[in-house]
Amino acid sequence: MSIYFAFARSAFMTQLAYRNEVWANMIGKLVQVFARVAIWIAIYGSTASIAGVSLKQMVTYALLGGAVTGAIRYESIISGIGQALRTGDVAVWLLKPASFPLYVLATELGRAAFRFVILVVPTVAVVAAVYGMLPPASPFHGVMFVAYGLLAYTIIALLSALFGLVAFWLLTSFSLEWMMQAILNLLSGQLIPFWFFPAQVAAVAAHLPFAWIVYYPSAVWLGRLDATETLAYFGLGLGWAALLAVGVALLWRMASTRIVVQGG
């Protein structure tokens, strides 16, 4: 376990080395969050509440929405795994006493921790100071938000790993990154919460694994789910995570067998 911690730590440190990137990312993040909030303010205009959701709640949703997806760069997991498999670099990993997918996830965890501290928290704080942000609906919802946040991280990391493994067979990782982005924009609730979706579309989207990445954590914070629902959907999310983990393990085994058999 400690090696993976070391991987994560060194990834965290490496991020600091490129200061221009840190500043660019910080500004980019700030613009993005400001803009998403601005879009909602424009949409609401002078209306106080739409579909039982107030503007204040919507602004809070937009701020929280960036918290998970803002910290993780799924594209580096996809291209990291995809590239290592394609170039055969992964063969080296098969000899080491560490698992390659776990290595990639640990490094990305280190980077995500960095971005969370340096990028997400400050930008959310700044925008919240300007537009205001609601506290969690109750202490219970606050605690569950943290649990949902960690689950969200796990699911997005596993999904990216899955896409990365698929990239090995498809010989392209760029298009898979684009696809992932497209799916997240729509089906995670990142841009529009499901309560504004047409009812049937919302019903389907709310049960796909993407929903746990943005929609559920934010909905829990706002108290849109009661205690029983909160726990039930958490269980469902765990189920999805387990399913994805099995998928990753399976594809990983297939890919590495193929590499060993073909000699890279």
Partner: protein, 266 residues
């Protein structure tokens, strides 16, 4: 100059043939593109369907804004994006060095040897959507209006290409520049919405340092006779001049960066 023009189609053709060596990946890229745009349109459609209009722009006007953005972007990006994104790697691996020893402009070589056929997909999608939205938007048809439309579209493409080139050329000085693309695409996402929904600071930025406001929001607002923040009455000519102005700036920056180029080290 004339000789350079003769070489460019050949470069584009060689790139296309190289790509065709990986036909499977090429078609998967196309599928990914369709999914990406389907999702973007779905987002806008859901918003328009639910809320009717955003900041005084109705659904068909937003669709025109969207298609103008998409078409202008694909024209500009096919001449710049994937090529300029490779520049960072070209610096690191030293391939840029080899280009600099050839009697041809390294910019022209890079751009044309990477002329991405994938953008035809974007362009077709943009044209289709544009035709449809033009058929339902109240347009004050006239020769002048159409001429302005075409000129503004070219200007938008130039702004796109210039901005992406400036970012790419920065790699010659800093050796890394790809992180700036995430900044670009942050603003890029915003430039598909009417400019007046944003805070003044973001509006000002999008009309100056990151001139993506000229990609669609400003020209389409002018075309539809809607007010443009900050620029006011100057918006009309500004949208046309932005393209040439930022292209000149990008050319100057490219030369400046080449003079500062430090190589891959060693």
């Amino acid at each position: 100059m004339l000789r350079t023009l003769r070489i460019l189609p050949r470069l584009a053709l060689m790139y296309f043939r190289s790509q065709m060596e990986y036909r499977g990946a090429f078609w998967i890229d196309r599928i990914a593109q369709v999914i990406t745009y389907a999702s973007s349109f779905a987002v806008i459609w859901i918003l328009a369907d639910r809320f009717g209009s955003i900041a005084g722009w109705n659904w068909s006007e937003l669709a025109l804004l969207f298609s103008f953005h998409l078409l202008g972007y694909s024209l500009g990006a096919c001449m710049s994006f994937t090529q300029m994104r490779q520049l960072e790697e070209a610096v690191r691996l030293g391939t840029l060095d080899t280009l600099l020893t050839k009697p041809i402009s390294p910019w022209a070589y890079m751009v044309f040897s990477g002329l991405n056929p994938g953008y035809t997909g974007h362009a077709l999608l943009g044209i289709g959507m544009m035709a449809w939205s033009l058929s339902i938007v109240a347009v004050p048809w006239s020769i002048g209006w159409v001429a302005y439309f075409v000129a503004a579209l070219l200007s938008a493409a130039m702004v796109t290409g210039a901005t992406l080139t400036v970012i790419g050329a920065t790699a010659l000085i800093w050796t890394r520049s790809n992180h700036l693309y995430s900044l670009f695409f942050g603003f890029w996402e915003l430039s598909r919405y009417p400019l007046n929904i944003f805070p003044t600071a973001i509006q000002a930025t999008m009309l100056s340092f990151v001139p993506l406001g000229f990609m669609a929001s400003v020209p389409v607002a002018v075309l539809l006779g809607k007010p443009v923040p900050i620029l006011g009455d100057w918006a009309g000519p500004a949208a046309l001049l932005a393209g040439p102005f930022f292209v000149a700036l990008a050319m100057w920056h490219w030369r400046y960066a080449l003079d500062r180029y430090q190589g891959a080290g060693g």
